[in-house]
């Protein structure tokens, strides 16, 4: 299992998930400006070269994050955190990934992509199940910069939420490598909203919330962010986002928490599933051989 995950991390540093590639292809066709065309040409040439030469497609291979949906009956549940850490060490040496982990306060690079609290592992425990889903995410530094969470007065309402998102993106999106995938969390407090906004980035590109109003807001925000005119890499264009995903939780009557996370166009998210016999499938990347 460690080997498979290590190889998958390397693979996902070289090849974007199928849904992201398809969306970029669609946006490339729709952009008409001269600068966007030059940029998309460079982006697609790079994607082909990265796959062909087996190299990380972006030099910033990010901090490795894992989101687990793990059954309590999964045979390796106790070993999981240890083997994920081992997989990161292995992938760093073999791919190679850029060493990106700087210890806080001591301010030195560990050189291994492992450090205090890194790789970051989030758990969703599923009682009575024997499978394990692993979302991998290579989170680059540049697209972490727009990240923000705050708590609004409920009277500001969903118009306030959209103001928060648009103001932040107008200032920060041009530098975060658009077209972006935008994750918005709506909850009660800063940390719940922030966490949901990141989780929203793990959904397939262009999927919609099961809540009808949230889904409508996703569409409206997508139109409005595109209408800002920021375009690929901030040079100006008709499409700034690959999608807007909203995840939500119930809130306190007196608070409206809102969080924002974005991913760059090179959205290196992966999804693995292991059954109890450790048979593996990679739903995000049809080209990966487990």
């Amino acid at each position: 299992m460690t080997d498979t995950i290590a190889r998958f991390i390397g693979f996902s540093a070289r090849q974007l998930p199928d849904d992201v590639t398809a969306k970029l292809r669609e946006l490339r066709e729709k952009e008409t400006g001269a600068l966007p065309k030059v940029l998309y040409e460079a982006m697609f040439r790079n994607m082909e070269l990265a796959a062909e030469l087996s190299r990380p497609s972006c030099q910033d291979t990010g901090l490795v994050q894992f989101w687990l949906r793990c059954g309590t009956g999964f045979p390796l549940i106790n070993e999981l955190e240890g083997l994920l850490r081992e997989a990161v060490l292995q992938a760093t040496a073999e791919t190679p990934l850029r060493p990106n982990v700087v210890e806080a306060f001591d301010e030195y690079n560990t050189g291994t992509n492992v450090g205090r609290g890194v790789p970051c592992v989030h758990w969703d425990i599923v009682p009575g199940w024997d499978g394990c889903e692993i979302y991998t995410y290579l989170a680059g530094g540049g697209c972490a910069l727009p990240g923000y969470a705050t708590v609004l007065m409920p009277g500001e309402g969903y118009a306030g939420v959209s103001r928060f998102v648009l103001e932040r993106l107008t200032e920060y999106a041009p530098n975060a490598c658009p077209p972006l995938l935008v994750g918005v969390g709506v909850a009660s407090s800063a940390e719940t909203a922030a966490l949901l906004s990141k989780k929203a980035l793990l959904r397939p590109v262009g999927s919609h919330s099961e809540n009808e109003r949230a889904a409508r807001m996703e569409r409206l925000l997508e139109e409005s962010i595109n209408a800002l005119g920021i375009g690929p890499q901030g040079v100006g264009g008709s499409y700034t986002v690959m999608g807007v995903h909203i995840e939500h939780a119930a809130r306190h009557p007196a608070s409206l928490g809102v969080g924002l996370s974005v991913s760059c166009w090179s959205h290196r998210r992966g999804h693995l599933f292991f059954d109890r016999e450790l048979n593996c499938t990679a739903a995000s990347h049809a080209g990966f051989q487990p």
Partner: protein, 208 residues
Amino acid sequence: MTTYKDGRRILSAPLSDDDLRSLRIGDIFYLSGTLTTGRDAVHRRVVEEGRALPVDLRGGVLLHAGPIVRPLEGGGWEMVSIGPTTSMRMEKFEYEFVKATDVRLLIGKGGMKENAARACRDFGCVHCVMPAGCAVAAALSVEEIVGADWLDLGMPEALWTCRVREFGPLIVSIDAEGRNYFEEKKAEYRRHKDEQLARLAKELAFRE
């Protein structure tokens, strides 16, 4: 020196004043010659600690980047992946950095602001951006790593001096007159934002 090949405009480093002054915001070109990578930690050493760079950047090119480099058997280094990093992180230091090093072309990702624009105006310097996330294509334009300095800063922060060929495409973001492409575009984006917020406020009045 400026040459043209297959419709591409190619500038050779070191760049002359004429080369630099011929560049206008929004122009696209490619670079051949030598460049050196440097980002946060390099800027802090030069500006905050007053240390001299071990590389001569006079009239030269600084790339805001932290590459992936692999040691070669038998010595030397191979460029695996290289791409621009967010230039805005260097904004705070850039005027003093350009003044101290006499570097003339800055390459990075995303725009910079008034401090960098003032350096461009005062010293005839240019900032440009290259497509980000295109690190393999860029690495293939690196012919050789000819210098590795300040390796104690770690791989992403060290000074990697590279001989490059037709490195790009590069898009001029701040020209030697101090015109700033991204700041001008941002004024448009802000206008659009106000229009969109008015629209969204009407659409998003959800009640119980």
